[in-house]
């Protein structure tokens, strides 16, 4: 039990050296589980797990009974895998010997579809990748294309992007908290989280006309001017939200089931996290202090003051604490953004680039030049200078990169999305090995994956 006690003291933030992380053998001593588990295969495939169960350990039906292992299929239709994730698990009793994720059930070929669309037509496709944070997807794609085009987005639009990115982060974290708590057995939290999420959904609907697939952030700016009373609605939501977070914590923090299911489960050392490509809250919960918003600012994040929550717990509990603190920090960022918008004169929310951005309806109906631009953009798209760029944003699930290659035509030559979920899934085996089946559910909840982002 000594291990459990030293796992986490919230608030204690020690900086860890992230350079030259030791990768020898890829697993640090603390994450190696002795005796029972399979030997280290480093992210095994499904076939590896099956082969291993028939060679190293005695399979089901052999003698003596105590040495038998079993292959267990979890998913793809399983509520606690958060989508269509299939896990192939070799178990000895309830102990996990080895585990392999099988993905691709939601693969829709979005990257291929992007290559057949005009640049502007790709934006709605990006909504559907990580469907819990459409604004963040849109922003990452818009930043990449704007970098290729070399256009400057007005400051007001940048602040609005920050505002809606942070509201999206809160929304995504609310879905995470609700489903994670429900997986553990606390149903009430889910109802409370979705109550607040509904407010956010109404805000998104007011600003974009859509609750989930917003397509609000466009190349060169934003789709629409927010309605006049929206800022007051957002401010009212943000004013009440901190006490709502306290309410969720009141339901969970002292709950003995919640504590014993989370603390000391799913250990991921910082060295392993870096070696396995983990980003976002799971990386920061392993003590690595890196946040794209602060360290490589985009869309004027450098103008905001906010803390980056870091924990040295390395377990499911630490990830819970980090995300709860992130919601509080996001609330602060949103309030700063609202203050900035209030002190800023009315102005454009799109870049001054008439050959790239659709003119507004009134101009299009009254001005010949705007009508021509509108016709040309809709029928032919706009040519983007050749080159390759990577944009990087801090999505709710971790680092989200868009790699866009242009060959100088009106359609992207290649669009590739790097989503945090895909890499984080590789760390699942490291976290689950030697634990119990019930812990797998807690660990999947803690890495907060969306299969739309993994399979694309």
């Amino acid at each position: 039990m000594a291990f459990l006690e030293e796992v986490l003291e919230p608030g204690v933030e020690k900086k860890r050296d992230t350079t030259g992380a030791t990768l020898a053998g890829f697993r640090t001593a603390e994450s190696l589980v002795p005796d029972k588990t399979a030997e280290d295969m480093i992210i095994p495939g499904v076939e590896d797990v099956v082969d291993e169960s028939t060679s190293g350990h005695k399979p089901h039906g052999s003698d003596p009974v105590s040495d038998q292992t079993m292959i267990l299929n979890m998913g793809p239709q399983h509520p606690s895998t958060h989508g269509v994730l299939r896990l192939v698990i070799e178990v000895d009793g309830e102990t996990i010997i080895s585990l392999a994720p099988d993905i691709g059930y939601l693969h829709t070929g979005i990257e291929k579809t992007c290559e057949a669309k005009f640049y502007a037509q790709v934006t709605p496709l990006t909504d559907r990748i990580d469907y819990l944070c459409p604004m963040t997807n849109n922003t990452a794609y818009a930043l990449a294309v704007e970098k290729l085009l070399g256009i400057e987005v007005p400051e007001r639009a940048q602040i609005l992007r920050v505002l809606f990115n942070e509201l999206t982060r809160i929304q995504s974290h609310l879905v995470w908290l609700g489903t994670h708590a429900m997986d553990i057995g606390a149903l009430t939290v889910f109802l409370y989280c979705f109550r607040e999420r509904e407010d956010l959904m109404r805000i998104f609907e007011a600003v974009s006309g859509q609750r989930m697939m917003t397509s609000y952030v466009r190349i060169g700016g934003l789709a629409l001017e927010p309605p006049a009373d929206l800022y007051a609605t957002i401010r009212k939501f943000l004013k009440n939200f901190p006490e709502k977070i306290a309410e969720y914590e009141g339901l969970l923090n002292n709950n003995p089931i919640w504590i014993s299911r989370l603390k000391g489960v799913g250990h991921l050392s910082p060295e392993d996290a870096i070696a396995l490509g983990v980003t976002g809250p799971p990386l920061r919960a392993s003590g690595v202090d890196f946040d794209v918003r602060r360290d490589m600012p985009y869309s004027s994040y450098e103008k905001f003051t906010f803390a980056v929550p870091v924990s040295n717990g390395c377990d499911v509990w630490a990830r819970y604490i980090v995300r709860m603190e992130e919601m509080r920090e996001s609330t602060k960022i949103c309030l700063q953004a609202l203050d900035m918008l209030a002190s800023m004169p009315e102005g454009r929310i799109v870049a001054d680039a008439p050959k790239i951005i659709l003119p507004d309806r009134e101009q299009m109906k009254t001005q010949m030049e705007s009508l021509i631009h509108h016709f040309k953009i809709v029928t032919e798209g706009f040519a983007v200078p050749a080159g390759e760029v990577t944009s990087s944003v801090e999505a709710p699930h971790g680092m989200m990169n868009y790699y866009v290659v242009s060959d100088g035509t009106a359609k992207p030559y290649r669009v590739h999305m790097r989503n945090a979920d895909f890499a984080t899934l590789q760390a699942l085996e490291t976290m689950c090995k030697g634990k119990l089946i019930a812990d797998v559910v807690a660990i999947i909840g803690s890495i907060d994956i969306v299969l739309g982002a993994i399979d694309r």
């Binding site: 993905i103 490509g277 390759e388």
Partner: protein, 168 residues
């Protein structure tokens, strides 16, 4: 060391190994990979370093030694019908320098490239994805199987000569 990302002294683009090496002599990646680079590009504040496809593991080791300790992404671009056809792009981040570089290797149809899973285990899924969708084989990968498409699928969807719609 001046930060080339924010340093206003180098806003313009440089193409070619000599030009980039001269302009960004202080850059950690340029110093660490000087012997391996065959071509280089500094464009839109992003550094792209081309290396020969048979030196990719050495290049990744050198990048890691120079402080670029986090593998973000491995992906490919199909430049069909140009030869060599495939461009494998490795996006590598330095958590301490707060910079990213892009390592690029070109290879023709039928050629193989070494897996970098020995340097970063995180490359595992990404290399499987490139193998699945582009048909580029990685030698030394622990288990190179399809990851997105079904195991019995024919063809590699992200190749440019694979149709976007219609029946196979």
């Amino acid at each position: 060391m001046p930060d080339p990302i924010t340093n206003p002294a180098t806003p313009e683009a440089y193409f070619g190994k000599e030009a980039v090496t001269a302009a960004l002599a202080d850059h950690a990646a340029i110093q660490g990979l000087a012997a391996l680079i065959t071509d280089a590009k500094w464009d839109r504040n992003e550094l792209t370093l081309t290396v020969a496809s048979d030196t990719i593991v050495a290049a990744c080791e050198a990048a890691k030694t120079s402080g670029y300790n986090f593998l973000e992404d491995v992906t490919a671009v199909d430049w069909f019908p140009t030869e060599p056809r495939f461009q494998i792009s490795y996006s590598i981040l330095s958590l301490s320098l707060k910079q990213r570089i892009r390592l690029v290797a070109r290879l023709a149809e039928g050629e193989t490239i070494a897996s970098i899973t020995s340097v970063w285990p995180a490359a595992n899924f990404y290399e499987r994805e490139v193998f699945d969708l582009f048909g580029v084989p990685f030698t030394g990968h622990p288990r190179l199987t399809r990851i997105m498409m079904p195991d019995n699928w024919e063809g590699h969807p992200l190749r440019k000569d694979y149709p976007v719609e219609g029946y196979r």
